[in-house]
Subunit: 300 residues, 4 copies
């Protein structure tokens, strides 16, 4: 992604004039404000606004008048406790607003997270830019043979070249025709109709606003190794932002969500026996072959 | 839209064997169950399940134990009262589950209604069918010159032919290439990648479940004359279903929502003066030129 | 409501040290931050944090990269247009966090607005203060004889005195017994049990965070003349805050929501005839007696 | 809880007349319909309506047209897979509507689950019954000394008697005064005001409608051993219903949610070392004393 000089100038201007506020300020995220973190070939994530920080989580959890004095727990310990015990409402007290540029097929996955506010660029009203996601060769993979909805091996250089050629040619042709159809001096087709000719790798953009609890839920699913690469890179970019914004909450998230493992009742039975030195098998523990395999992966 | 003999046989089978239930049954919607109401060239709406009816709305509004006897209001009067006075929770007590087949660009608008449950056909896991929305000639219009996000005049026959040719050719080519790329005996590209080559007029399908209050809100916006034609026809099809399912609620919806008009404080001032026979102008009432025009449209 | 010197000192301290931020700052709401707006006898509303302002609404509506130049509409005109045409998502881009102290029976109504984030003082964990809402004599009314769920005439001085005596005595006795039961040197009853002895006029407090769209919806219902007085005064206090925070949005809200009137299809038919000078009746327009009465109220 | 003969007759009548439907019918839950499952001293849970069953979950997960043939997985295996891998949307395709009678302090906890539809008995409009929750002696406990928000030991018989006496006397007196104040031939106080004199152990009732995914989330938190006893018994009653309604989903819920354990990243490191026979300590694994204690509880 490269910004035009105008865009860069605008960001510089927005960042040049701090204003005094009485609100809580998170220094960690201030340094991100308005800047574009590049994602994929033309995409980005920009922080536009935020509310709260680690302290705001604790404040809500304590809900005492002002700072409160009863609790001797320090903030970090409290945040870890809240995360570990699934107390979600204090994390909802922080909010972030992002400006995201992303391919339409990524946007279609992303929007499934319903507890967020969205304003998307309207292709009924405006003309979409000629910008398409064309994967880097190292991210063009075959269908996975073990996972029905994932990718497997990288393709051969010849196959990769074929794919790239197709994607580029079809994007270009579809966009040329789109442009042609909406040309006001030509056909003048309604934009709301013409857009249907555009493939799902075209870029769109939106403002996306979400509270920290729901953002972490999004990140748990989308920064996960099983998420599609093209949304995972957005989630990864947002993870960096959250780590700077609310470091204690992010650390607790890493420990109790991203890096955590949920074991079923049967797995816990097996585990307790194994810790006593006993032999266990899929059969003896009532796990299916698939569950057993997942269990083995967890503990090794 | 035409069903395959297998699909029709399946619908017939599902409809052939009623089962006794102790639940409330709405005869009006039972006749729709499983049948496909055709929409656009390949789309449809099918009712898969429902919960409640007009009586369930009243039951919730009364929340008495069982049928209650205190209220002398009849059900229809109560429903009209609830609708008129924005009591939304009783309408949430009815629920409907639809199976919808629709073009992706319509799905992208539809999904913005967040208070609903959705399971969409996964193009990461499965292969999309070769089915594209190609508008009928009479629905191919120019960009509106009065409304920035709508359609205006129908195009000339030559221009219409040009548009149709482009849409058909690009759809066909993109799909051929999609198929080629995912061919397991050929390139074998991951499905989650290949789908990005498909334009927004390809059909997808989903199960969509929503409560009646949120459904009526959806219908108010999407069955409206300003909604894009391609989503409006789905809303219109659902309107028929609701009219059969909960007739009193639907009638109240027509009277107090679809056919209703909201007048601003300024418009009400103007109106009261006009009813007294006084002359009013945009200036004297503090309306902008645009508001004044909208006001004139409302009352004429 | 009176603040303790400690509470006032804390507010003063919080307000004494502005910090520079690169975010959007709304001067209008900064002056409210942390201060307690008194409501009822012991309640208050305090603004703890906010995100966005009028400009943020427009920015989201335009979703262009940065400030955008295409739109010649000024911000106020755009906001009025959005409000008038029920475009709700741009208003969701502003967020506010309030600290509210309120009687439990008010909290029970308030919490029905689900699209908000809440952290309430926990009476399982902590001990509730001895603070009860005792209405001022001028707000002690008889059951309405025209509205099944409202208040009518003010009671006689003797009756008012009786009510006040009962409320005070029962509150005091219940709280004494509550205190007695949880006394760690006495019975030591679990707090989660003891709290059940407390009547609904006891005060609780919470942090409540909501976006501007949902806040306006709350205000439309709760600042309305038909809302119970005890929640309406909270809504009124919040209205002042919003008017200072996002003045254009608030003005549009007054004109198109609070001061607006929704007329049914039948009412519109009647109205158009009346404007032409024709006579209309309840019968001729198909309105019920009740609807007709409501219509007369609207236009007079 | 005891039903009046009228209530029982009404239930019998509702259960006496099955109606044919083309919808999916779950025999397991049909046997519960309308019956009141007693909870606490005067409360109950009644199933009023439902939509879907185990098969509906699978149908949504497959979203193929009709039954689909591609998947060889059986329904139970698919449901377990979905639950294990946090695929929540298919479980949202089932819906249940309950009529619940419950003490107000339980209702206040319950309502915090926002993704549900609720119609509560209105004490602005109607008069609450003289029914108060008075705990059985064996459920009257002291404040826990280890858990800040729970109960510990049972009180002595004398203390228990004292508590019971207080609760009964205060309930009775408050209700007498409530009744007195609203008496239309006496003071005639508005109901919306008089209700504030009623303590939190009075019973209210509501219709509560929720999808299966959100219901299971509710049950995970409220059927948990750490939930307050008075809400847990409601959750337990609903668990029985779900087990009969969607047995495969319920079994998966027991195995992967209720009986499951989430281990943090640090705990997993410790565990893997322990399985290799190595010694680990709180220090060596970076766990706090509290986390270490929780870890020991999990594996023993």
């Amino acid at each position: 992604m490269s910004l035009t000089p105008e865009q860069q100038a605008e960001i510089d201007e927005l960042r040049s004039s701090p204003t005094p506020t009485l609100r809580v300020v998170s220094d960690g995220i201030e340094k991100h404000l308005y800047k574009a973190i590049p994602v994929l070939d033309h995409g980005f994530v920009r922080v536009i606004d935020y509310m709260g920080d680690d302290a705001a989580i604790c404040q809500a959890a304590r809900v005492s008048y002002g700072k409160g004095t009863k609790s001797v727990q320090n903030d970090e310990g409290l945040i870890r406790y809240l995360m570990r015990h699934w107390h979600s409402t204090p994390f909802e007290m922080c909010e972030i607003k992002l400006h995201v540029k992303l391919p339409v097929f990524v946007a279609r996955q992303w929007i499934r997270h319903r507890t967020a506010n969205v304003n998307e660029y309207s292709a009924r009203y405006s003309i979409l830019d000629r910008e398409f996601y064309i994967p880097a060769p190292e991210h063009i993979n075959a269908q996975s043979v073990v996972n029905n909805q994932g990718r497997g091996e990288v393709l051969s250089p010849e196959q990769t070249a074929q794919v790239l050629e197709v994607l580029k040619a079809d994007s270009a042709r579809c966009y040329d025709n789109y442009q042609n159809m909406i040309d006001e001096d030509g056909i003048g087709l309604a934009r709301e109709l013409a857009r249907m000719n555009l493939p799902a790798n075209i870029y769109t953009q939106w403002y996306w606003k979400v509270d920290l609890h729901n953002l972490l839920h999004f990140l748990r699913l989308r920064a996960d190794a099983h998420a599609q690469y093209e949304i995972r890179v957005y989630a990864d970019a947002i993870c960096q932002v959250v780590a700077d914004w609310a470091p204690a909450a992010y650390k607790a998230f890493e420990d109790y969500r991203m890096g955590a493992v949920t074991m079923s009742a049967q797995m816990m039975v097996a585990l307790r026996l194994m810790l006593k030195g006993e032999e266990v098998t899929a059969e003896s523990t009532g796990m299916s072959a698939r569950e057993w395999r997942e269990f083995q992966d967890m503990i090794s």
